[in-house]
Amino acid sequence: MIYMSEVSKVYSNGSVALADVTVDIHKGDFVFVVGPSGAGKSTFIKLILREELPTSGRIVVNGKNVIDMQPGEVPYLRRTLGMVFQDYRLLPNKTVYDNVAFAMQVIEAPRREIQKRVHNVLELVGLRHKLRTYPSELSGGEQQRVAIARAIVNNPVIVIADEPTGNLDPETSWEIMKVFDTINKAGTTIIMATHDKTVVDAMRKRVIAIEKGRIARDQVKGVYGYED
């Protein structure tokens, strides 16, 4: 699904974000990416999304060599990846329904399919009853559910979440993790960068720890491994 081989990323200011990273993530995996702030987690995600190109190494995402990819192909790569952010990034002037539908509209999906899919994913995240609500009227957890619905509405093969529970209380975080688990069980690969010790330790999924740009640890059924 995602394959990185000896990947290094040095930014133009000379700072080394990643050094010699080799990982293999399979279909259906649930992977936590942990590590101190500034260790390279964000760069790791940006490389998968092809927001950044590595300085050296090889990256294959969903069978596509990301490095040789033409700029015009990038949108089609991203359609196979769903993104969830810490700050939700919902459009405040659109309703819950429209926020989710937006992701399908901009890739020109047929209208009837949009209606069907949006209702389905909102059902899945438990917000079927809030279709006509605006984000500002929702709680943080609900907003993140909308964001998750938007991330999965185009049927991505991989969902990438960057600190999805960073702004949520433990109870709500747990609710959100249950949603991710459901999605994962349906066969979607999940890669989640997080600082949430409780969540990582309770889920017992694969943990990749990045420290100073290198992979310090890659455990099946791992734990967070850092003090908060």
Partner: protein, 295 residues
């Protein structure tokens, strides 16, 4: 492109135009002003050219004879002129005829001529027409060298001055148009930049969910093109109104002035302005998108 997508683009563009109300108005006005001036210069230059070339084709050479030539000498000169290349018509005007014409032209003021008494100061002359304007100069030079010819005149000075004037207006107009065009470009790209900025969050999401570059850019392009088109439309309306009124007035009072008839002239000018306006709009947004939106 699917119709639904186009609807989406149009809706986005219109929403954004409304949101940027004041900037949109400023953009439209700048484009309108620039194109109005462009239009005025176009109309002026084209008309002056038209007038100059009309006059040129109507040019005839007037050949004045020396006094006291015999009829035979004069006939001889007439035949020689007729044989010159390019000459299509040679008409003899004797001094009495010339006087009669002159009286006619003076109209009610012909009383002035009574002072001359019986003397007729006007010379015998030939009126010579050529088939191409280029011949005028050489033919008149050759004629003036003939024996018995006082001189040969044509309206060359006036025409040359007219062409010089058009040239000056053209250069001045071009500079002004370039300057105003850049101003229009700048203000449109600024308007679009504001739009891009207002919607950076939306653009970010579009990028993450895999919208193609052109899909993201298109609403902004349309917005720019609408601004340019509406501006051009304002310019076109003002210009056509003014030109129609002007030509009507001129035909009434100065009928000899050969202005270009408004049809299809105005339609062509309008098309040019509308195309230029829309192009400025598209270019303005392209500049802005290149600079402010790394897609």
């Amino acid at each position: 492109m699917k119709i639904r997508t186009f609807e989406y683009f149009l809706r986005e563009a219109v929403t954004s135009l409304k949101r940027n109300g004041l900037m949109s108005i400023a953009s439209v006005s700048t484009v309108a002003l620039s194109l109005l001036i462009l239009g005025i210069f176009l109309v002026m230059v084209l008309n002056l050219n038209h007038i100059a070339s009309t006059l040129e084709t109507q040019v005839q050479i007037t050949v004045y004879m020396e006094d006291g030539l015999s009829d035979r000498d004069m006939r001889e000169i007439g035949t020689r002129i007729t044989k010159m290349t390019g000459v299509t018509e040679v008409m003899f005007v004797d001094k009495e005829e010339a006087m009669a014409k002159f009286k006619e032209r003076l109209g009610e003021q012909k009383g002035l001529l009574t002072a001359l008494g019986e003397t007729n100061p006007l010379p015998n002359s030939f009126e010579v027409k050529v088939d191409k304007p280029e011949y005028v100069k050489t033919v008149s030079q050759t004629i003036s060298q003939l024996k018995g010819v006082e001189n040969a005149k044509y309206g060359q000075e006036v025409i040359e001055q007219l062409f010089a004037l058009t040239k000056m207006i053209r250069i001045f107009g071009l500079l002004l148009i370039i300057f105003l065009g850049l101003a229009a470009l700048f203000i449109i790209s600024n308007t679009i930049r504001i739009t891009v900025f207002a919607r950076r969050k939306e653009i970010g999401i579009m990028k993450y969910v895999g919208a193609t570059d052109w899909f993201i850019r298109f609403p902004f392009m349309i917005e720019g093109m609408i601004l340019g088109f509406v501006g051009a439309l304002c310019a076109v309306l003002i210009l056509s109104q003014t030109y129609s009124t002007l030509t009507d007035k001129v035909y009434e009072s100065l009928a000899f002035l050969p202005l270009i008839p408004k049809n299809p002239f105005l339609t062509n000018i309008s098309m040019i302005l509308l195309i230029v306006g829309t192009a400025i709009g598209a270019l303005g947004s392209t500049i802005s998108l290149k600079r402010f939106m790394k897609v």
